[in-house]
Each structure stands twice: as structure tokens, then as C-alpha cells.
Amino acid sequence: MNILAIDTSNQVMGIAILKDGLLAGEYTTNAKKNHSVRLMPAIDQLMKETEMTPKQLDQIVVAKGPGSYTGVRIGLTTAKTMGWALNIPVTGVSSLKALALQAQLTNAAICPFFDARRGLVYTGLYKNKDGTLTLEENEVNILFTEWLKKLADRGEPVVFLSPDIELHRPVITDYMKDLAIIPELVSHYPRAGYLAEAGAMEESEPVHALTPEYLRLVEAEAKWLEQQGKN
């Protein structure tokens, strides 16, 4: 089973290749640079280094969001098109779940999150249940303080994971006190190897039906819906 995994949903760009189920190569950068320019050259290079050709791939796994709208689309478009062209399944995995996998061995609840500006975050709550990471609280786009209050009320320890952890460390400790577990810095960046592994165990959708998980409506659409409600 050969898998190509792609994550361009946030600033971290990750690619991994599993060959016969084993990690053959992984590429991770954390740079404020253009994913569209860098993704395909990186895939090309990693494929060469792992001596893999597109035809040998059996599955593509992609982080389907939430995250940067454009970033999510670059990954998903690439994955869908490759999957369609090669006639192999494409599996979309939540970008938050991909991040939560960094702490999958803990028994504590895991809260991955991405900053979504103006005090908002994309987040959800995961927990390791008999060796599989399962969703405890649905993924949402929410005010972080509101979310933290909810987590504090659960009264159990929570591991926080986020590339934006430093921005939010004070408010987390403020709300969670000693229930907050914040690991060392490298754990806060998703790794495509984990994404590939998670994707191998998830169901893949028909490639045409696979769409990004934005967790947020386009502003114009939200306004339009509001208008419809009033009429």
C-alpha cells in the first residue's frame, strides 16, 4: 500500500510518502511562503527520492481543512486531480485531527486549534479511545474564550496543540489553570506522516464529492442567508 499525503491547509506545508505502509519520506516546512508555487516541486522531489512514480500510488490522503481557504483548496485540488487521474481513492482528513495525532498517545483530551483572527479559532476536541483518536466535541469556528470556558467546565486535563500556541498561551493558562498541558514546541506543527497513517484507516469518499471543510460560510453568503431569513 503506497500512500501520498498532502497538507497545505495552514502555514505548515507537509508531504509524506508511505511505501508498503512504512514511512519512506516526509517533508515539512513552516514558512510564510506560497504553497501553490512550492507544493508540486516538493512532491516531485520527494517522489524521486523515495523512488516512487505516480502510477505506483494506491491512495492519496489530504488535509481537508479547516485552515486558510486558499491553502485548503491548493491541497484538495491537487489531491482530487491526482486521485482522479490515477483512478485511486482520495481520503480527506480533518486538518485539526491531523494536528491532534501529534499527541495521540496521551490519555488526556486533545484540543488542536488554528487561529482564525479576531479572537476566533478553528478547533475541536479529540480523545484516544482504545487506540483510535475519536472526536469528543465537534469541530467549530468559535471565540476561543467561549471554547476554553467549555473545556474548563469539563474539569479534566487537556493537551493543547497549535502552530499559534504562543499567541494564545496566556489565555489558555488563564482559563484552564493546571488542567492545561502544553507540550514542547515541535509538537505543535502537524506532520504529514501521521496524516498518511490516519488516512489509511479512514473511508475515502468518491473523488468528485470530496470538498474542503471550511467551517465558515463566505461572508456574502452568510449575509444573504440572514436576508432570506428576514423575508
Binding site: M40, W84, H208
Partner: protein, 350 residues
């Protein structure tokens, strides 16, 4: 397809997502449409009264693989049979362009095919080559929601922009006036329809600009229409929408036809090509046909489905780029403000 395919035939896939149409097409030898699929988003954008870029990008991702599949099915061909994958690189909405560009890269990578970026306006011009072979030098009038340009071509793949709009594009002026008249989106076709029923009885300005200039300006005209409507409303005068549309259209079309005619004579071209969404406008078609009735130039206006955004035009322009040796790297990016002249002068790399 098997029997008719000879070794020298070139089959090019085109992908176009620069605005609100998700499109793919296969073109043979740069002159023949094999299949041409356009998934329009107009219905979705109607409720907003215009194209919302983020909504357009979202639709592109949802549609693109289905559009590709349909394109190959209609042609009864496979991606393996393509000589190259070509895609609109710009100009356009960046988020929308990115979907097409990344689709093209992924497909070219998966199938080991050459990848080529194409300029959207070069595409509009080359839509005409799907109707009739080019004869150089030729003059192209490109009129759309985003463009109003006069372009001289001395040979394939080279573009000299001799005139362009200094403010609004012709199509943009149409849309804005249509909105003032409270016509549904997209306004252009409604204006054209109303104009046909109206009388040219309001004297709107025509911006000729300096002597000998092939540039255009439509913002003054647009303001004049809006002021005229406003003043009439204050005086409780009633202007017929049909007459406003007819008078506005006469003003736009006069300038477009006259400047195109003058440029055609000065550059002594063999063909005059009309391209872009506004080329579908009946008023413009009529004015140009009249203007060029006795001219020595041949006037080419493509059928409606090739005027609006489509991917056959991208594949047609892409075929020339392919034959001239242009190849993009895996780092190909969307370029929302890609320059046409510079695109024509880019170095080919094999």
C-alpha cells in the same frame, strides 16, 4: 478516434477557471474543438448581484474533476492521449485561477505531460482560430467585463497592445449602468435586449481621447448616464429604460467600432477579430459589420459560446505555445495581473 488520429495531430487539454466558469476542453491542432465543457456559476452569483471571488473559488474546487471527466468522456479520449496540459495562468481572480493551475499541475504530474500556462486574453483571441485560420498581421478587439483592448498580432504568439481602457472596461460600464437601471445580473445581455427596443434619443458623451489614441475611457459615459437618470428622477421626468440603454449602447459601440476601424487601416491588417464576452453584444456586432462592410479587412466574430469564457480558447492558444516550445515548471503559479505583451515575449524553455 483511433483511425482518424495521425502521428502529427496535436491534442491539447485546456483548463480555465479565471472567473466564474469552471471549464475544460480538448482541441486538435489548435483549430478544431474536440470537446468543450463549461460549468457556469452564474446562477449562484446572481443572488449577490455580481461575482463573489471566494464563492467562485469554492465552486471551482467542487466542479473541477467532474468537468475534466466530462471533457474526456465527450471526446472519447484519455489524458494519456494529450500532448500537453494547458491552463489559464492569468489574469483573473487569484483564488479562482489557483484551482485551475493546481489542477493542471496535478494532472500533468500524474500523467507525465508537459505543462503550459496561457494568458486569458491570448485565449479569447485564439477562440477565433477555432473558426478560421489567422492571417497576419491581424487586429483583435478584446471586449469583456475586465478588458477593452486593441491588439495587433504580427505572428503567432506575439501581441502588441496598441490601445486599452484607462478606467472601466466596456463590460464593466454595461454592468454598472444595468445595475442603475435595476436589471438582473449579469446586466450586459439585458442592456443589449433593451437597446434593441429603444431609440437613441439621449446624447451621451463619447470619449475619443487625444488624436490618434487607441485608448478607451468609459467612466465618464457611465457617470453621465447615472447623472441623467438622477436628474430626470428629480424633475419627475420619465425616461424609457429602452431609450437609455439604446443611447448608452450607441455611445459605447460608436467608439469601439470607429477606433477599431481606424487602427485596422493604420496597421494595414488582413483580419479584424472580435473577442471576449461583449463580442456577444448584438449592437456591437451590427456596428462592426456595418463599419467593415466595404473594408478590405476580413471581420471575424466567433459564435456566442466561444465569446464567453471557455477552455477551448485556452487550449487553442496553448497549442501555439506548445508548438513554440513553451513549457512551465512545477512551480507555475497563478498570476492575477499577467501582462499580455510580456507573456508573448517570455522565453521558451524546453
Amino acid at each position: 478516434m483511433g483511425e482518424t488520429m495521425t502521428k502529427n495531430d496535436v491534442y491539447i487539454l485546456g483548463i480555465e477557471t479565471s472567473c466564474d466558469e469552471t471549464a475544460a476542453a480538448i482541441v486538435k491542432n489548435g483549430t478544431e474543438v474536440v470537446s468543450n465543457v463549461v460549468a457556469s456559476q452564474i446562477e449562484s452569483h446572481k443572488r449577490f448581484g455580481g461575482v463573489v471571488p471566494e464563492v467562485a473559488s469554492r465552486h471551482h474546487v467542487e466542479q473541477i474533476t467532474m468537468v475534466l471527466e466530462e471533457t474526456f468522456q465527450q471526446a472519447n479520449m484519455t489524458a494519456e492521449e494529450m500532448d500537453a496540459i494547458t491552463v489559464t495562468e492569468g489574469p483573473g481572480l487569484v483564488g479562482a485561477l489557483l484551482v485551475g493551475v493546481n489542477t493542471a499541475k496535478a494532472l500533468a504530474f500524474a500523467k507525465h505531460k508537459p505543462l503550459i500556462g496561457v494568458h486569458h486574453i491570448a485565449g479569447h483571441i485564439y477562440a477565433n482560430r477555432l473558426v478560421k485560420e489567422f492571417r497576419f498581421p491581424l487586429l483583435a478587439l478584446v471586449v469583456s467585463g475586465g478588458h477593452t483592448e486593441l491588439i495587433v498580432m504580427h505572428e503567432h504568439g506575439s501581441f502588441e497592445v496598441i490601445g486599452e481602457t484607462r478606467d472601466d472596461a466596456a463590460g464593466e460600464a454595461y454592468d454598472k449602468v444595468a445595475r442603475t437601471l435595476k436589471l438582473p445580473y449579469p446586466g450586459g445581455p439585458h442592456m443589449d435586449r433593451l437597446a434593441a427596443e429603444g431609440e437613441v434619443n439621449i446624447d451621451f458623451p463619447r470619449a475619443w481621447l487625444e488624436d490618434g489614441s487607441y485608448d478607451f475611457s468609459f467612466s465618464g459615459l457611465k457617470s453621465s448616464v447615472i447623472n441623467t437618470l438622477h436628474n430626470a428622477a428629480q424633475r419627475k421626468e420619465i425616461l424609457r429604460d429602452e431609450d437609455v440603454a439604446a443611447s448608452f449602447q450607441a455611445s459605447v459601440v460608436d467608439v469601439l467600432a470607429e477606433k477599431t476601424y481606424r487602427a485596422a487601416q493604420q496597421y494595414d491588417v488582413k483580419q479584424v477579430i472580435v473577442a471576449g464576452g461583449v463580442a456577444a453584444n448584438k449592437g456591437l456586432r451590427k456596428a462592426l459589420n456595418t463599419k467593415f462592410a466595404d473594408a478590405k479587412q476580413e471581420l471575424l466574430i466567433p459564435p456566442l459560446e466561444l465569446c464567453t469564457d471557455n477552455a477551448a480558447m485556452i487550449a487553442a492558444a496553448g497549442t501555439v505555445a506548445y508548438q513554440q516550445g513553451h513549457r512551465a515548471g512545477w512551480d507555475l503559479n497563478a498570476n492575477p495581473s499577467l501582462d499580455l505583451e510580456r507573456y508573448g515575449k517570455r522565453e521558451s524553455k524546453q
